[in-house]
């Protein structure tokens, strides 16, 4: 009965989901979404295997939904500009390459502080936004560099952790990795799950592992659980792994490391987003979503935002609950915004690179 009451509550109001206004306050300066009070960590819940087993995901129906969803929605003119600016504020600007260096990370941080060139900011009349990206995402070794470079900006540093990207190093080392990154100043930890546990249906083991990671993150640090959806293969597996990760305390669920053969796709995202909705309906806790890998264009950014708005509602279009794991996408958004501002199609080389 308690559950039903929540479901009813969830259907009231203008959007599919409504979160209490104390949680999402549109009046607050949305350009600084990283304040402590804006977050409400997911306390998790005991593993409910019945729920996990009952997850259904019909692939062909989901593919159809995704196809029509992106055809049912579009934004034009100043609406499009506003949506793209919001997309920028939700980017986890990321560098996760073998050839990363401290200097490369500093460059990225500079771009994070000033994602659009000043000229464009003026043309758009958005100086007051103080627009930044959502976070900067790096390997552990660059956490300190990034924290230093971002000092005073309010932009959190996210560290990929737990044997990224495969998640197969010894558990103790994975846990220690989290602690070291948190000590180094990371405020967000992107953990990877052991995909084999999900493929083998070892939900209890998966739950325990993720709960251990969450504990290692400690209070005030936000944990994003990367499901490696390309490795999970089926949408049902994705749905089940999403539920287990949330039960174990994940604050965000994230599609991919960017290193799998297939990364963020809309069907996979739809399944994860629906799992988030159900978790919210049952527990009242809003978990965030982060698609990562393969999202390169402004058009794609908007498609994912339509998905968030229509399936979850307006609150899930804030960086507290929505992030893009992307790097190249920012340049394309800058081009589209410049086109809006000038009426001329823009060139990538005229946008300052990271």
């Amino acid at each position: 009965m308690r559950r039903l009451a929540r479901e009813r509550e969830a259907t009231d109001g203008d959007t599919a989901m409504s979160i209490k206004s104390t949680e999402i306050n549109p009046q607050r300066n949305a350009t600084r979404p990283h304040e402590e009070d804006a977050w409400r960590s997911n306390p998790g819940m005991p593993l409910d295997l019945d729920w996990v087993e009952s997850v259904a995901a019909n692939t062909s129906a989901i593919e159809r939904r995704v196809q029509t969803l992106t055809a049912r929605r579009t934004v034009k003119k100043e609406w499009q500009a506003a949506w793209l600016l919001k997309a920028v504020s939700c980017i986890d600007l990321t560098t996760l390459s073998g050839d990363d260096t401290a200097e490369r990370v500093r460059r990225l941080c500079a771009k994070a502080r000033q994602p659009l060139k000043a000229e464009l900011v003026n043309q758009l009349g958005i100086e007051s936004l103080g627009l930044t990206v959502g976070a900067v995402c790096v390997y552990h070794v660059f956490v300190e560099t990034a924290v230093e470079a971002l000092k005073g900006s309010g932009i959190p540093v996210a560290a990929v952790s737990t044997g990224f990207p495969a998640g197969l190093s010894p558990l103790a080392e994975r846990v220690a990795e989290i602690r070291r990154s948190v000590e180094a100043g990371a405020r967000e930890i992107d953990i990877v799950i052991e995909r084999g546990l999900a493929l083998g249906g070892k939900w209890q083991a998966l739950y325990d592992e993720i709960a251990t990671f969450k504990q290692a993150c400690g209070p005030g640090v936000h944990m994003k659980a990367i499901l490696g959806t390309g490795d999970l293969m089926t949408l049902r597996n994705v749905g089940r792994a999403s539920v287990v990760a949330m039960m174990a305390g994940a604050d965000f669920i994230k599609t991919s490391t960017g290193k799998e053969a297939v990364n963020a796709t809309l069907p996979v995202s739809l399944v994860m987003v629906r799992a988030i909705r159900k978790y919210f309906e049952r527990t009242g806790v809003a978990v965030g979503f982060k698609p990562a890998g393969g999202i390169r264009t402004a058009k794609q950014a908007l498609e994912w935002m339509f998905l968030m708005k229509d399936e979850l509602g307006r609150p899930w279009l804030e960086p507290k609950l929505f992030r893009f794991g992307a790097s190249g996408m920012l340049t394309d958004i800058e081009r589209q915004l410049e086109h809006y501002a000038t009426g001329r199609y823009a060139a990538a080389y005229r946008q300052p690179m990271a």
């Binding site: 062909s60 129906a61 579009t74 758009l124």
Partner: protein, 793 residues
């Protein structure tokens, strides 16, 4: 408002499609149109015009011609004149024209989509992404049939001039469903678009001009119901194809009854949307969006009755309400809206009236907080919960964005509720369990069943209904047959008057010898039964000698026989091999009685014919035993992760009025294809020799034909035939008596719109297997159900 404010609210904002090109097209025509007849724009004979209106604003878009009987006549004459030259073209040449139509539709896709949306009120997303691409697809598919016609439809000839009447919900798509197969099969057409939405048909006529289609092959006459009536009544039209309401369908059935016009009807629906507790509920909700909120619910196959398993009733309706809140309703030319305007003011009133009726009947009405635009004809998405089957809104087609909700407890109950309707157009079944989904799909009486989907269409997967949703199919091979008939039948002479009339005349009783002691009874439910009337009638040989007495059947015998036939419907589930085996056994047993049957039948038809009837009868039994496991359906591969299983399903209980010319062979030729396909039959043997029953039922008994599969009721043909044709629990009637009887059957069939299969009073040579046997009969003994099966995890 500034970008900053938009940044906070993140609303969608307006995204209008530019109507400039479509408006320019209207202006080029001075916003005034006349008929397209014989390749020319043709002023209406009576000079009458009416306005077509944009339902999203109520503003007039253009003035169009009101077609009179004279205009229809001119169009039919043009089509008739064009018929010979059109048929003289090579199939390849016709294929080129159809291909050109497909290309032309694609080249002007956006203008057509915008025009459709302006005239009809449907969202531009739908006309752009669904209607127009399906139109092009339909012409491509039928360009293919035009090319393959002589090879794939050998032995078939086009009907001639086709009169086609289409509705306002998918104006151009319905046009393509009508025109493409007609032309591919070698017919010429006169098309009447719906009065509310004539514009895209006129734009299409212009495309026909542009591709140089020979004059008169396609004619478009605009107008209201009177124009359609004139077209359906025109005596020089060979085929009528109608899509629209069941009421008008009934009227057309009656109007064409005595004319020999071939008829296909695609009528209303009240399609069930069945959700089991193991379904992907979020996806099922989207299925309902596609099912009932597509085109504002103005879809004949809309999933308008949600049947949901009790365990998930609350959860599913909560999800539905949440989803309904996010449906965007607004100006149909906006690219980001989900629902546009209702096509006509009268339709809006109908929806309002029926919803009020539903609430009065005890349903709870829920609508989201969505504001309606101030101008135009809009109706919000609507959920009626607590709807019981007895409620009007559970039975009547609303044709609007209104979903009724009823719960069920078991699979069995779900099927019962799904089938508790006069209609049978389509159904959706949602379950993650393939056994459940396919079991239910096979048991629902509907021409299309979508498993875990809704409102999917493809030119190769035929569309059409069971029961009062009409008959005939559109699309695929089945659809082509609606515009073709066997060449031999096309050229067959009229049936000679028979020496025994089926119309009421009765042989005079002759004084003479006392009756021969051979008691022939009715054969009902596998048992010999005395006629309810308690009367018998005398049967005479050709030389006037008394042969014996046959039971005189009446209404009640027919009633009993139909009930017995329904009890035997397990026959449809018998394996094909089993049915074949039973039929072979029947052949074997008849061969053992050959001499006796020849001797008895010879007294009536002469020994020569009797010998042939019996010998060929045995052969015919073997032929249908052979067909029993060979007349299979097909598998289609439409776009997406789907296969469609086109199943040839039996019709159910079928009444057969047997031909007079060959009392034995004619009966076998008509009853056997039905039986081989799994139908149960109530047959009225020819009044010329009704004693044939007495020869056959011992054979049926000894051949393991289950009781009730074949029922034989002798008596006055016209009287028994009328009872059968009027019987609401009979799915089809086969009448091979005289022309007057054929007409009477068609008129009497309108109650449940049962299919009527006749030769329209033309002569069939039952002794020629090319005429008396084969696929033509088997196709009429079955109806195609397309089950859309998705795959992939």
């Amino acid at each position: 408002m500034s970008i900053l404010e938009r940044f906070e609210t993140l609303e969608y904002g307006p995204a209008p499609e530019d109507p400039k090109e479509a408006t320019a097209w209207l202006e080029r025509h001075g916003r005034r149109f006349c008929h397209y007849i014989g390749g020319k724009w043709h002023e209406p004979a009576k000079g009458e015009q009416f306005e077509t209106v944009d339902p999203s604003t109520g503003d007039a878009l253009a003035s169009v011609a009101q077609g009179s009987a004279e205009d229809v006549d001119a169009a039919v004459r043009a089509a008739r004149a064009a018929l010979g030259p059109w048929q003289a073209l090579t199939p390849h040449a016709r294929a080129r024209y159809l291909y050109a139509m497909a290309r032309q539709v694609q080249k002007h896709a956006r203008r057509l989509a915008v025009l459709e949306t302006m005239d009809n009120g449907k969202p531009i997303r739908e006309s752009r992404d669904i209607d127009i691409p399906l139109v092009a697809r339909h012409f491509y598919h039928h360009a293919g049939w035009a090319q393959l016609l002589p090879r794939e439809f050998a032995g078939y000839a086009p009907c001639g001039v086709a009169g086609q009447i289409i509705p306002w919900n998918f104006p151009l798509l319905m046009l393509s469903w009508k025109i493409a197969p007609a032309l591919a099969a070698g017919n010429t057409v006169v098309l009447k678009p719906a009065e509310h939405t004539p514009l895209t048909a006129l734009a299409f006529a212009e495309l026909c001009e542009e591709i140089g289609l020979p004059a008169g092959v396609v004619n478009v006459v605009t107008g209201d119901g009177r124009t359609g009536e004139a077209l359906a009544a025109h005596e020089d039209v060979d085929k009528i194809a109608f899509t629209g309401s069941t009421e008008v369908g009934r009227a057309i059935r009656a109007a064409t009854a005595g004319t020999g016009k071939k008829l296909s009807l695609e009528l209303g629906g009240k399609s069930p949307f069945v959700v089991f507790d193991d379904a992907d509920l979020d996806s099922a909700v989207e299925g309902m969006v596609d099912g009932i909120w597509f085109n504002q619910g103005q879809v004949c196959c809309a999933g308008s009755r949600l049947l949901v398993q009790e365990a998930v009733l609350e959860t599913l309706t909560a999800k539905l309400r949440a989803r309904m809140e996010t449906l965007r309703l607004g100006p149909p030319l906006d690219k980001a809206i989900d629902m546009g305007a209702i096509a006509a003011a009268v339709q809006l009133e109908r929806i309002q009236r029926l919803v009020a009726r539903g609430v009065a009947d005890g349903a709870t009405c829920w609508q989201p907080s969505t504001a309606l635009p101030e101008r135009g004809w809009y109706y919000p998405p609507t959920l009626l919960t607590g709807v019981h089957p007895a409620s009007v809104v559970a039975q009547e087609e609303i044709f609007g964005p209104v979903l009724t909700v009823t719960s069920f407890r078991t699979l069995h109950e779900a099927v019962e509720l799904a089938n508790n309707t006069a209609y049978g157009l389509a159904a959706s079944v949602w379950s993650e369990n393939i056994n459940v989904a396919l079991d239910v799909a096979s048991r629902i009486k509907a021409g299309v069943v979508w498993v875990n989907g809704a409102n999917q269409f493809d030119a190769a997967s035929a569309f059409g209904g069971y029961r009062e949703s009409g008959f005939g199919r559109e699309g695929g091979r089945e659809g082509m047959y609606e515009y073709l008939e066997p060449t031999w039948l096309h050229n067959a002479p009229a049936l000679a008057a028979s020496d025994v009339s089926s119309g009421g005349e009765w042989p005079d009783a002759k004084a003479g010898e006392p009756a021969i002691d051979w008691t022939v009874k009715q054969y009902i439910g596998g048992k010999q039964a005395r006629p309810d009337s308690g009367y018998s009638f005398a049967v005479y040989a050709s030389d006037g000698e008394l042969l014996g007495e046959a039971p005189l059947g009446n209404r009640k015998d027919i009633r009993n026989a139909v009930e017995a036939a329904h009890k035997a419907e397990g026959w449809a589930k018998a394996s094909q091999h089993n049915r074949a085996q039973v039929l072979y056994f029947l052949g074997e047993n008849m061969a053992r009685r050959e001499a006796e049957m020849v001797a008895a039948l010879g007294r009536v038809v002469g020994e020569e014919q009797a010998r042939r009837e019996v010998a060929l009868g045995i052969e015919r039994i073997f032929a249908y035993a052979a067909w029993a496991d060979k007349f299979d359906g097909a598998v289609h591969s439409p776009a997406g992760r789907n296969v469609t299983l086109a199943m040839n399903e039996p019709l159910g209980v079928v009444g057969v009025i047997c031909p007079t010319e060959a009392p034995l062979l004619g009966l076998l030729s008509t009853v056997l294809p039905l039986v081989a396909m799994g139908n149960c039959v109530v047959a009225v043997p020819s009044a010329r020799y009704p004693l044939v029953s007495g020869h056959l039922y011992p054979l049926l008994d000894t051949s393991d034909v289950p009781g009730g599969v074949v029922n034989l009721v002798a008596g006055r043909t016209a009287e028994l035939a009328k009872t059968l044709a009027e019987h609401d629990d009979v799915s089809a009637i086969w009448h091979f008596g005289d022309a007057a009887g054929c007409e009477a059957m068609k008129r009497a069939s309108t109650g449940n719109l049962k299919q009527v299969f006749t030769h329209d009073g033309r002569q069939i040579d039952w002794f020629d297997p090319a005429q008396g046997e084969g696929e033509w009969y088997l196709r009429h003994a079955t109806q195609v159900k397309n089950i859309w099966v998705p795959y992939g995890e």
